[in-house]
């Protein structure tokens, strides 16, 4: 106990300048430049412009072959040309028709499966067994079989799209239904809701964040499957007899075969645009009107 530190006693003093102490202006006005750069959209847009400028400069200055990496300007021109005179929009329309058909039928089947699974234990077991088995199976792997069963045509693609939509949607909706809180269920039962009304009025709104997630994953799988299917069997699947139709994937594939690389890039841009539109406009609008408005999901 010898090592107790000495207590230091400092001499007392009085601060004479305390009155002068002053908190300076913490908030300072931002310069115009800072305010502009503070805007999200400006920063993102400038990154996009920067990427385009770097791309264009690189292709102009280094003598990289047009076949390896076309100029941005050439790509934009190809996109314009494809839209204006090569019926690119019709091709997008073809792809989207098939996609929407498959997606809609898939949703109906998934709804039926999930309803059966929520109502009976047997349905629950069937659904969980089927999803555990079939969800890890890439839909595109079923395409060869679908071609054998349904022949070459839109039917085969729709079959694979069904497969890619049903399982993630049913799985997520079911998990969502299962995790609806007991309190909410009891409120519903208290109101005397039963059967379909119970599902429609109580379970679906309560599980909507999960359902929406399933819808988004289902869309992502379906979109990927469709492009892949058109890439693989585009020529044989799409009806190319009446003028130049076929789908978006086929546009990319056929242009790659003809080494029209600028057109390939134009096709990729279209794929990105459609994807961005569906994810950021369609799904965002749904989210804004439902889960965000109901306060179930953060911004």
């Amino acid at each position: 106990m010898k090592n107790i530190p000495n207590v230091l006693v400092r001499s007392e003093f009085e601060a004479t300048e305390i009155a002068k102490a002053d908190i300076g202006d913490v908030a300072r006005k931002l310069t115009l430049f800072e305010r502009i750069i503070g805007m999200h959209s400006v920063r993102k847009l400038s990154i996009l412009v920067l990427v385009i400028v770097v791309w264009e400069a690189y292709t102009q200055l280094s003598s990289v072959s047009e076949l390896i990496l076309p100029k941005f300007s050439a790509t934009a021109q190809a996109l314009y040309q494809a839209v204006a005179s090569e019926q690119l929009l019709a091709m997008v329309w073809n792809s989207m028709t098939v996609l929407v058909t498959g997606y809609a039928i898939g949703l109906v089947i998934a709804t039926l499966l999930t309803t059966a699974a929520t109502m009976t234990r047997f349905g629950n077991d069937v659904l969980s067994t089927l999803t555990a088995m079939l969800n890890p199976l890439p839909a595109i792997a079923l395409l060869p079989l679908a071609l054998l069963w349904f022949g070459l045509g839109a039917d085969a693609i729709i079959f694979t799209l069904l497969h890619s939509v049903i399982w993630p949607v049913a799985l997520n909706a079911h998990v969502g239904f299962m995790s609806v809180s007991e309190t909410q269920r009891m409120v519903g039962q208290n109101y005397g809701l039963k059967g379909l009304v119970y599902v429609g009025k109580l379970l679906i709104p309560a599980a909507f964040p999960q359902i929406l997630m399933g819808l988004k994953i289902g869309w992502a799988y379906a979109w990927r499957t469709l492009i892949a299917a058109e890439l693989v069997f585009g020529g044989s699947i799409s009806d190319t007899s009446e003028g130049a139709s076929g789908g978006l994937g086929w546009f990319i594939f056929s242009n790659q075969m003809e080494l029209q690389i600028a057109h390939v890039f134009a096709g990729l841009f279209t794929v990105i645009l459609v994807g961005v539109f569906v994810e950021n406009v369609v799904f965002n609008a749904i989210e804004n009107r439902t889960v965000r408005r109901w306060g179930m999901q953060a911004q």
Partner: protein
């Protein structure tokens, strides 16, 4: 339903007075045994695994009965027993297992390269605002682009072979993982962040010790989606250009068999794809979840 006021003023509904009476046999009331013993059959049926196995067996039996009973053309739909025998033969007496290994090898290379790139991007994004903007922009653009659509370009740039497959796989993993990790990091609560700063954690330690554990549920979700995309992309890519990428993998096996109208081999290939998918999703990822987020109580 709203209660209507009585019609006419002062007209209250009449009170009904029922005669008093005494219940004489109340002493006999008795609560009987509510819990009753389940019979053996009921107890067995209540086991989840048993029910699922029965459903699986019923499906297989229905398939077998349909194909045998209706004499379905085996080229269109082979019976389960034929497909299963084909799977057994190809796995143990043929080179299917090497084809699986070939696919898995490419998948692992692409997946791990994608994860490393995603980690680097995310580090950059947490360090600077420019990086954060860049990653937000890039994921918004590239995440909706199916990786398989890049395959034609990849083959042009990297030639026919594993390199172009790996490139496409990286693309399919990178954006999904980066997107969900980035949003996971942004949703880490300020309290946790401040605790980290209080401990003086900075830079890479701050990321590893605070952000990564706090955002692990969404990182894992991203990794699962990335895996699902990569698996789908790989099978798709091998279906399309399998032969050109060297010895060929599982997707090529399916495609080759379907071209030869070897439908039982197609089913054998599909079984293999399902089995591998189940192993990865239910064994690998399930174990990671059990050891981390479930153990930490972040997810049930």
């Amino acid at each position: 339903m709203s209660i209507k006021p009585p019609a006419g003023k002062g007209l209250l509904p009449k009170l009904v007075i029922r005669p008093e009476y005494e219940v004489s046999d109340i002493a006999q009331a008795q609560i009987s045994d509510v819990a009753h013993k389940l019979s053996l059959a009921e107890r067995i049926w209540n086991i989840n695994g048993v029910r699922k196995a029965v459903i699986l067996l019923a499906l297989v039996a229905a398939w077998q009965a349909y194909t045998v009973g209706f004499d379905v053309e085996p080229l269109m739909l082979p019976s389960f027993s034929i497909s299963f025998m084909r799977l057994y033969n190809d796995l143990f007496y043929s080179d299917l297992i090497y084809k699986v290994w070939f696919s898995v090898k490419v998948l692992l290379i692409g997946y791990s390269a994608g994860l490393v790139l995603a980690a680097l991007l995310i580090l950059w994004a947490t360090a600077t605002r420019f990086g954060s903007d860049f990653i937000a922009m890039a994921t918004a653009m590239f995440n909706p682009l199916p990786a398989i659509a890049l395959l034609p370009l990849a083959m042009l740039w990297f030639g026919l072979g594993t390199a172009s497959l790996v490139f496409v796989l990286i693309h399919s993993v990178l954006w999904a993982v980066a997107l969900s990790t980035h949003s996971g990091f942004e949703n880490v609560s300020p309290t946790l962040r401040m605790i980290g700063r209080n401990y003086g954690l900075r830079g890479i330690f701050y990321v590893l010790k605070i952000l990564v554990p706090a955002a692990l549920p969404s990182i894992l979700a991203g990794m699962k989606i990335g895996w699902a995309f990569a698996w789908r992309t790989l099978i798709g890519a091998e279906l399309v250009f399998g032969a050109s990428s060297g010895s060929g993998g599982l997707g090529w096996y399916i495609f080759e068999s379907s071209q030869n109208i070897d439908t039982d081999a197609v089913f054998a290939g599909l079984f293999t794809v399902i089995l591998f998918g189940i192993v990865v999703e239910n064994v690998v990822f399930r174990n990671i979840e059990l050891r981390t987020v479930n153990r930490w109580g972040m997810q049930q």
